[in-house]
Symmetry: none
Subunit: 196 residues, 4 copies
């Protein structure tokens, strides 16, 4: 007797999630190239065939993870936009981003690694590009906040802000054990969220 459609749907969702979670873990641990499809299937406790039933291939796995990442970042940005004053908005960006990286430094590290992938890598480059494009899009929104904040050169200030924030995230994800994240967060907020 066949399973009900609802039951099937539930199984599908659970399996997909299980695969993605495993892939994320392994990619973070060993990197995209050093993780084999076999590794993912074994760790996810499913057969290789089933993995290919859910994803077109290894690359498709990466694509799905990148989409998830883009969505995560988007959520932070949307919440920031919803704030009323530009100072609060920028503060929320800082806090959201740093909270994210502090929860899972290896995950951030993995996406940063993807982000810095050489431009011609035949497989990975397009996802790297996708991340960059999304970041560029969000940068425009962020610059608008600095405009509203009334700084002299908002675009340049926005860039400087992004650089500092990215730099903090980079360094924290590199030395997660000894990095005083809270203190630097305070320092960044103090520097960028006030004006006049």
């Amino acid at each position: 007797m066949p399973r009900t459609p609802t039951e099937n749907e539930r199984i599908r969702r659970a399996t997909t999630e299980q695969i993605l979670k495993t892939a994320m873990t392994l990619f973070c641990e060993k990197g995209y190239y050093s993780t084999s499809i076999d590794d993912v299937a074994k760790q996810a406790q499913i057969s290789k065939g089933l993995l290919y039933h859910y994803f077109k291939g290894k690359e498709d796995l990466l694509a799905a993870l990148v989409d998830l990442r883009i969505n995560d970042v988007l959520v932070v940005m949307n919440a920031a936009v919803a704030k009323t004053t530009p100072a609060e908005q920028i503060q929320h960006i800082v806090e959201g981003a740093l909270e994210d990286v502090s929860r899972q430094p290896e995950v951030f590290r993995f996406y940063l690694n993807l982000f810095t992938q050489p431009r011609l890598d035949p497989v990975v480059a397009k996802y790297s590009q996708k991340l960059m494009d999304e970041q560029a899009r969000q940068f425009e929104i962020q610059t608008e906040m600095f405009v509203r904040l009334g700084v002299a050169e908002p675009r340049q200030r926005s860039l400087y802000f992004s650089s500092t924030l990215q730099g903090i995230m980079l360094m924290f994800s590199t030395y997660p054990n000894s990095f005083p994240l809270e203190k630097l967060k305070a320092e960044a907020i103090a520097e960028f969220c006030n004006h006049g």
Copy 2:
């Protein structure tokens, strides 16, 4: 009559350099994993066998490049240390680092990519670690500069400085065409090189 040792030495040097240069170019373009030994040999216009005559393997190629990189960074730091006032020292770090990245953004990007490699990648991790260790060593020297500068919390300030600098380099190497490097350099110098 065999070639003279001097002549052999000359040949060895030239070939080694040719190989390393080619490897660097290809790794920057396509990434370590997507570049094959065959690619390197072909592009360097030598046989695969000769490449293995000079380097133990693909990994050894990477090791040699990492050593070169570490040396490059060291040169900047040593020049900075030679300056007399701490303000000049820090300024030299900013200028040296940014000059370096602006000359060859893809090279910096490649090393940053290596730097952010997952910790368990069976091949690449150890070179990633080597870069991190060297950076940590230099960080101590830099912190001493902030001590001499007389800032309140020198270690934290040094970290914040590194974060900003790394962030600028990261963003510039990501968007080399539109990034106003000179302006952000000025902004960073203004922020970190004065006190009182």
Copy 3:
């Protein structure tokens, strides 16, 4: 619907056996080093990938064959031990061993070749050692038979017996066409199976 476990087991067994049989044949014909994995796969009519699915590598193939060999020899020895009188036991060793070599002289020759492999061969030595260890173990059992037979110096006699038997096998496998195996078998039995 996936294949049943039983069906898979059947397929695995058949393929494994096919591979081992082919490897044995080729190793006997051309030797371990002159037989390539490609040769084995082609002759076994499977892909190289499948071969690696079943065996970890070329060396693993050799290991499996050595284990089979050790088992074969063990069977003869166990049957010998089961006999009641020591004379019958020794006779059974002679007959078992010679029957084995006469059926497949090249196989015996191959194992003898392995057996005489230089001690430091980086790959083959360990299997050579394994064969030697097993032979030493069986030698002890055989010596016990000569003790029961009541000869003066049983250990020495057992060694002399082994030497003669091994020598006959060596020579037969070298000149299988002209060697009067039956007659020498009779001569050996006459010499070693009586006493008093």
Copy 4:
């Protein structure tokens, strides 16, 4: 100023011998296939080019060693033939052969290994065959000794004798440390050198 022809001749001889000695050592230690030309040249402290100046290739090295071996065995046989009674002749074969193997068990082991090489090994087989042919030739001479000794079936007896002798050598070279060579030598002489 060029070297004198005599001087050159001396150098040539010394170098050739050095190469052969090194090759023999390495082949015995690691086997023919696991020894590279590079190994031989390095150990012999000459350049690869020079090695190829003296020998056509790796195979030629093996050929030279096999010729040396054949000559060694021939010397023993000729000395045996020079004895007056057949019993003395056979005794000399036993003593000569066992003295040889006891002096350099690994060398004997190496030739035995060559001797048992599969018939179709594309490189090694022809030298294996050469050794076998020479052994067959000498077997005829030895059989004549048993004829003169007056045994019933001289050819069969000669074969049985060879088997025993080869077997002792095989076992001794396998367990050189614990094998009571002298005692088995005595046992063999007692068995084969008397008749009447």
